[in-house]
């Protein structure tokens, strides 16, 4: 009764987030900011232990004020220099008392492409339909206004 295309379409609305940004910087520079664990952590807001390697897990501690007690694991999937970088993680894993390891992960992908005066980056996070809805609701409640509020604080903090 369910066709593949229909399923993909149905999922796309709630299953993934896609952001495209154009950066006025050479592709090599943008690549380093994403694929070097040090630099990634600097703009993302976490301190990563070690370097990114394909099919390896790396642990990070958030450096975002109010969240700096949290660690999270990034499982790097694929690294294609200057073109593609992807990892899996547990989104919204913000309760230190909960063991998220058995729960489904989402896939985060960075696609890089050269454009006229810089680099286009497409960030895709997908797999949300498999995250238990209970977890989503709980994360929202715990966050007191959610990430949206937090993101604003964050923008002020890094500005």
């Amino acid at each position: 009764m369910t066709t593949k295309t229909d399923e993909a379409q149905a999922r796309s609305s709630t299953d993934r987030i896609e952001k495209r940004l154009e950066l006025r910087a050479p592709r090599a520079r943008v690549w380093r900011a994403i694929a070097s664990a040090n630099e990634f952590g600097a703009w993302f807001g976490m301190k990563l232990e070690g370097a990114f390697a394909a099919r390896a897990t790396i642990r990070g501690r958030l450096t975002i004020p109010g969240y700096d007690h949290l660690t999270l694991d990034l499982h790097v999937e694929q690294i294609e220099p200057e073109r593609y970088f992807s990892y899996r993680w547990h989104p919204y894993a913000i309760d230190p008392k909960v063991d998220y390891s058995a729960e489904p992960t989402t896939l985060v992908e960075f696609h890089l492409a050269e454009i006229a005066d810089g680099t286009a980056v497409t960030i895709i996070e997908s797999g949300f339909d498999r995250i238990p809805l209970a977890r989503r609701a709980e994360a929202y409640r715990m966050n007191d206004g959610g990430w949206a509020g937090q993101a604003k604080n964050l923008a002020r903090y890094v500005a």
Partner: protein, 107 residues
């Protein structure tokens, strides 16, 4: 919400007939089973079964209206899933701005 119930949410959303029912209820609801089966080529029994699955997932509620039972979306539940995604998206927006500031030369 119990975890088994959230499993029901995703099972419910993974079926085209049920998604069509949700879309229909969103546009024209509340509706009776008779109205919901009209023009779908799906039997009343099948529609009833799908509505029951949606009900178990907490996505749809039913109420009596006169002599018939009508079904409506449980907007709150659907909102919650939406809100979460909006939130994660906002988080990426903020991260994207930080990445931009990080790689672009200061002017």
């Amino acid at each position: 919400m119990l975890p088994d119930r959230s499993a029901a949410v995703f099972a419910a959303l993974g079926d085209t007939t049920r998604l069509a029912l949700l879309r229909r209820l969103s546009a024209d609801g509340p509706l009776s089973i008779t109205r919901l089966s009209e023009g779908t080529g799906v039997t009343r029994q099948a529609i009833t079964r799908h509505l029951r699955a949606l009900g178990r997932a907490g996505l749809v509620r039913d109420a009596r209206r006169g002599r018939e039972r009508v079904f409506a979306l449980d907007v709150k539940r659907i909102e919650k899933a939406r809100q979460y995604l909006d939130d994660v998206a906002a988080q990426w927006d903020a991260a994207a701005l930080r990445l931009k500031a990080f790689v672009e030369p200061q002017t």
